[in-house]
Symmetry: C2
Subunit: 334 residues, 2 copies
Amino acid sequence: MNHPQTFSIRDIGSMHIGGREVVLGGLAEREVLYSPGNPPVMVDPNGAFEVEQMYVQYVRLAAPKARHPLLLMHGGGLCGVTYETKPDGQPGWQSWFLHAGHDVYVADAVERGRASWARFPEIFQGEPHFRTKAEAWELFRFGADGSWNGSASASSANPGTLFPIAAFDQFMKQATPRWTTTDHATLAAYNTLVDDHGPFVIITHSQGANFAFRMAAAHPDKVAAIVAVEPSGFPGASQESLSALRHIPHLFVWGDHMDSSALWRRIRQGLNQYGNTLRSQGVAVDELDLPAIGVGGNSHMLMMDTNSNLVANLIQKWLANKGLMQKKRPTGPL
Amino acid sequence: MNHPQTFSIRDIGSMHIGGREVVLGGLAEREVLYSPGNPPVMVDPNGAFEVEQMYVQYVRLAAPKARHPLLLMHGGGLCGVTYETKPDGQPGWQSWFLHAGHDVYVADAVERGRASWARFPEIFQGEPHFRTKAEAWELFRFGADGSWNGSASASSANPGTLFPIAAFDQFMKQATPRWTTTDHATLAAYNTLVDDHGPFVIITHSQGANFAFRMAAAHPDKVAAIVAVEPSGFPGASQESLSALRHIPHLFVWGDHMDSSALWRRIRQGLNQYGNTLRSQGVAVDELDLPAIGVGGNSHMLMMDTNSNLVANLIQKWLANKGLMQKKRPTGPL
C-alpha cells in the first residue's frame, strides 16, 4: 500500500553532456605505489582524456503535471547536491518539485561533482579554489562580515537565521573545489543541454544564474522561465539582444540579512539594474523579496533553510501563474 | 495512467558520510581573477575545511520486496555513475534493481564524484592519477593488452565484446581522478555507512570489492551478502578472522577475455585463493563464471555491456536463492 507521500516515476537516469578529447604528451613518467607492500610501478601520464563534460541526473514522473521539465542549477563551489536532502536531513527542493508534479533534472556543472575535473595546469588553467568555512559563513550570510570565530554557533550567526546552523559542517561536506577559468566550458555544456533536451523551466542559484541568463540568450526557444535564486551575476549583453527574451518570465528571489554583507549589497544593486534593463526590453521580471513580504531569516542557501518548503511553494505559485503548470493541448493524433 | 514500467518510490535523497575537519595555515595568499574585466582579488587559502567524507544517494521504494537495501559500490577511477544510465543510453543496474524490488543506495567513495576532494599535497597526499583512454581500453578488457591504437574501434576490440564500443568516449566522460593514498579514509567512510545504515546487501565492482570485504570484516552484522563483480583485490586478513563472515554468502562474477590481460589473469588467481580461504572458514562462496555457462563477450564493465540485464538477472536469482528476497517476518507489534 502506498504512503500518501509516495510518487510514481517513469525513470531515473543520468547523462554526461558536451566535453571534448584532449591528448597530453611530453609529461614525465612517475612512480606510483598503488598498494602498500607491492613494489611501485612507473605510470605514464601521457595520453588521451575526455574533459569539460557536465553531468545531469533526471527523475521523470509517470504523470508530470508541469508543461516542461525543471532544470535545477547550483551555484559556485557547489554541485547538484544543493537540491537534494538538506544538511539537516530534511527533504530538499528536488523532492519538493517532484511532488509538485515536475520532471526534475539536476546538473553538476563542468569540474563539479560527477561532472569530474581535468589535470591542471595542463588542461584546466590555473589552480582550484577551496572555499574555507570562514568564507562560506560570511558569503552565504549565515553570519555577518567578520563574524566567523572558528566554529558555527548561534551567537555568531545572523539573528533569526533560518539556516540550520547545527548542520553547518554537514553543509561544508558538499563543497567542491572551483576554478575561475572554466566558465566558457561550463556555458558550452549548459547550452548543449538545453538545446538537446529543452525547453526547460530553470531554477538557478547564485553563480548559476549568469549561466542561465546566457543560455536563454543563446537558445531563447529552449528556456521557458528563469527563477534566479539570489543571482550573483549577469551578462554584459546589449539591451537590444535582451528583447529576444520577451517570452521568458524571470523571477528574482532574495533572502534576508543583506545588510550583513557588503558584497551582497553590491551584487543586488547590479542585478536590480539588470532586471530593469530586461523590463525595458519587454521582459516580465518579478521580484520575490522575502523580507519585504514578511518572511525574514533566509540565508543565501534558501533551499536549505528551515522554511525551504514555504519558499518553494511561493516559486511554484509564480510558475502556475505564468501558465507553466498547464500541460500543452495535444496538437496531433495521440 | 501508469506505464507498466513505472514504479512507486517512497523517497529519493542523499547524504555525506564521515569526514573530518582540517585546518590549513601558513599558505601564501594568491591573486585570483574571478571575473574577466574586474580587478583580481587576493585570496587567502588558509582556514578550515571538511574533508574525506563520502556521498551516498538512495532511492527507496514504496513497497520494497528485498529483505535489505542494496548498496552499489563502484571501482577505481570511477564513481556511482557506473550504475546509472549506461554510456549507450540504456538503463543501468540502479534502475534494474529498483524494478526488481530493492531499495538502492549508490555510493561515491571519498575523493570521487559528489564526495568531493581535498587540496593536495597538503591534505590528500601525493598527486591524483588521471586514467588515459589507452589504460581504460586495456584494463577494462575492451581490447587486449597493446591493442589501443588511438581510438575505440571494433577492429581493435576483443572479438565479440559486448561493451558498446561506439559509446567508449561517453564512458570515459565518467572517469574521475584517483589518489593512491586515500584508502584508509575511504574504508573509514564505508564502515560508518554500513554501521549507521546497514545491514546492506552489497554489489561491489573492481577496486570496491576490497572495501566491501573489509567492511564485512569490521561489521559482519551489517553486511548480508557480497556480490563482487570482477573484484580486483582482497584483504590480507588472518584465516581465523574470516570465520566471522560465515553467515555472509559471497558471489564472485567474472566476464570474458581474461586471456587478453596479464593483469587480470594475476588478479583472478589471487581472488581464487581468497575464495578458497573463505570456504575453508565456512563461508559460502559461489562463482558466476559467465563464459563457463556459455555467456561470452563480457568486459570488466559488465554493468554497461549490452547483456547487463541478463547478468543482473543471474545475480538477482542468486540473491533470491540465498533468501534475500523474502521480507523478514515482523517480530513485534506493527
